[in-house]
Each structure stands twice: as structure tokens, then as C-alpha cells.
């Protein structure tokens, strides 16, 4: 390690290279240290290994869902590779249809229609905040 590297502060990856390279941010670090690297016990019963391992179920540790969510580690919920964001679109469409039906009853003027401007993901996040219990994640789901 280089002598002048700050200790315990912001860590940059070792080596030098093109200026285009980005520093390691906390998200990138967490993604690796929490979810990658050698797993000693994983979800296996520690006793089977006959090792007095204190920390077990490392995968599940991040499942403290509230922490994960606060960090944004809830990609398993809406990984666009998996969902293509379709679910959000469907929700949005349904909501809009209801809204339009209301409006065409003549109850409101046009201005009110312009209110919903956020994209589907934002709407869903809002929904999640309002109903945290419904979003509780089955930890098994995020195992690859």
C-alpha cells in the first residue's frame, strides 16, 4: 500500500490508470464486501463444519431489509433485467385509467391531469414507503 493512503477514510482503488477511471464509492464497496468474496459458512449450519464460527448466514445479514433498503440494496425487487419495468408500467396504466375515468366524469379541470409526472419506478417507491410490510423480501429470492 502506498504510504500516503488515508486510513479509514475514503479509499481509492490501488493502481493508476486512465483519467476516466472513477473512484470506488461506498455503493461499489458494499456491493463487493457484502455480497462477494469467499464465503466461509454462508447459510450452511456452522456445526457441520465443526468450526466455532461466530457469524453465520452472511447473505441473510443484509436482509435486515430496512438497512438494505436504506442503502438501496433492494435491486432484487425491481431488477430491470428481470422485470423490464413492466410491472411499473402496468400499475401506472391502471392508475391512469382510473384517473381518466374520474376526470371524464367532468369532476375536475384539465390542470389536475398534469400532476402525475414521475416515472413508474418513483411511483412504486412511493407505494413501498407507504406499505413497507407488503414489500418484505423473502431472503431466498435473492440467492442466485
Amino acid at each position: 500500500m502506498t504510504p500516503d493512503r488515508p486510513r479509514g477514510g475514503y479509499i481509492t482503488p490501488y493502481g493508476t490508470g486512465p483519467s476516466a477511471r472513477e473512484g470506488a464509492n461506498l455503493g461499489d464497496i458494499l456491493e463487493r464486501v457484502l455480497d462477494k468474496g469467499i464465503v466461509i459458512a454462508g447459510d450452511i449450519q456452522v456445526n457441520l463444519l465443526d468450526i466455532e464460527l461466530l457469524t453465520i448466514k452472511l447473505r441473510l445479514l443484509i436482509v435486515s431489509v430496512e438497512t438494505a433498503r436504506e442503502l438501496g440494496i433492494d435491486w432484487w425487487e425491481h431488477d430491470p433485467w428481470l422485470t423490464g419495468d413492466r410491472r411499473g408500467l402496468e400499475e401506472e396504466n391502471r392508475r391512469l385509467r382510473e384517473r381518466v375515468a374520474d376526470l371524464e366524469e367532468g369532476r375536475h379541470g384539465r390542470r389536475a391531469v398534469d400532476a402525475p409526472r414521475e416515472g413508474p419506478r418513483t411511483e412504486r417507491e412511493r407505494g413501498r414507503l407507504e406499505e413497507p410490510e407488503r414489500r418484505r423480501v423473502d431472503p431466498e429470492r435473492r440467492r442466485d
Binding site: G8, P18, A20, D28, A41, D79, V100, V113, G119
Partner: protein, 263 residues
Amino acid sequence: MTDTGTYLYAIARDTGTSPPPGLTGLLGAPVRTIAEAGLVAYVGTVPLAQFGEAALKRNLEDLTWLEATARAHHQVVEAVAEAGPVAPVRLVTVYRGDEQIHRLLRDRAHEFTEVLARVAGRREWGVKVFAAPRPAASDDAGGGEPPESAAERPGTAYLKRRRTNLRTREEAWHRAASRAERIDSVLTGIAVARRRHRAQDPQLSGRDDWMVLNGAYLVEDERGEEFAAAVAALRDPELDVQLTGPWAPYSFTISESGAGGTA
């Protein structure tokens, strides 16, 4: 009995060298080495008041604690990586004492040696590709819109525009994703191995735009510059291609047969 545990950061080959002088890890504690079976474990002593199982459950909920721990862990792993091939160990792996680490190295020597052989002379690079969602331009353009058919009620017209926008967004997403696939395939051609991570949430990435690729590539040291240059060449006005690294090979410690994604 003791109220401390042995925290395991990383495993490397035993080359007879001592840890980098002055290297400290969690809580500023010095990093020690434990040698066994041709391997060396980089460890530190931690108080069980913080790193015992019950304490960990609590502490991992504490973002400040988690960040400090993650960074300290990462710092040790990177320092070890500078000296030679390393197999990073997952965060907060704590044993009751050094003897358990000796046993671990003995019991799993073969596996660890294999991992170290796979990552020797290679480094991990992270590549994230972002695409800006197409702006919902006509969403609330009001008077700026072309005149609609007088027969159409305003709500219906709005819904139609909204649908078009959503469809356009979806098409933009698929276009960006398919270009990300091509980027991935170019980079995989340079790398010796590749793992695809899940797309990060905007809160984690700190960006609102779409992450259409989050890949880790294991690249020979001597091809690092070539890899970085390839990444730079893949940037274009619509896609932001972000390079991080080189990293210790966090994403390549799991054997091909193990869980953890595609090779």
C-alpha cells in the same frame, strides 16, 4: 475465555513476507498474519462486544458502523492485493480465535489455492453502463401540443400521450439494454472471466438514470490498459460507461460450480 475474536479479511499465498508494515484494519487494530498449509490469512483482533453474533446483528443495522467496517475491510483487502494474489473474504467473518483459522486453512487449502491460482496476475474491473431515460417530453406540454381532435376528451388525449411516452421509454430501455449487451460482449472478449452483478438501485448508484449493465471483469494485469481503453472507446453520447478498479478480485472467488452467477 476471551472477549475478543479473530476477524478474517483475506487469504493469500504464504510467500514468507510479513503484512505491510503499519497496516491497520477495523478499529485501527493492526493486521496480523496466520500461516498454514502454504497459505496465509490476514486477520485482526476484534472485540466481541462489537463483533459477536448478537452485536453484529445490531451493528449491521447501523449505517455509520457498516460504512466504517466496510471501508476498513476493503482497505486491508486492497493492501494485501497490492502484494500479490488475494482471495477476499466476505465482510464480518469472525472466529473465536486463531486456532480456528489454522483449521480453516488446513481444511480448505485446496479450494483456496485454486481460487488464488485463478486470480493470480489478474485484477477485477467494474463497468457500469448508464442510459438516460428518454424525457417524457410531451407529458405536460399543455398548449405546446399539436391540436387534438376536437372529438377527443382531454383525459383520453392525456392517456394516449402518456401511453406513447411510456412505450417510448420502454423502447429506449430495450435499445439501451441491447447496446449494453454488445459492450459486455466486447469487454468479455478482453477479460478472462466475467460476472454480471445486478443493476444497482438509484440510491446506491447515486444516479437517476438507468443502469443497464453492472459487470465485473477479471483481466490480466498486462491487459488492464487495453481494457480501460476499450471502455473509453465504448462511451457515446447516449450511454455513459463508467469504469472502476482495478479491484481485488471480490467477484471471482466463487468457483465455477458454486453459487453466484454466470462465469
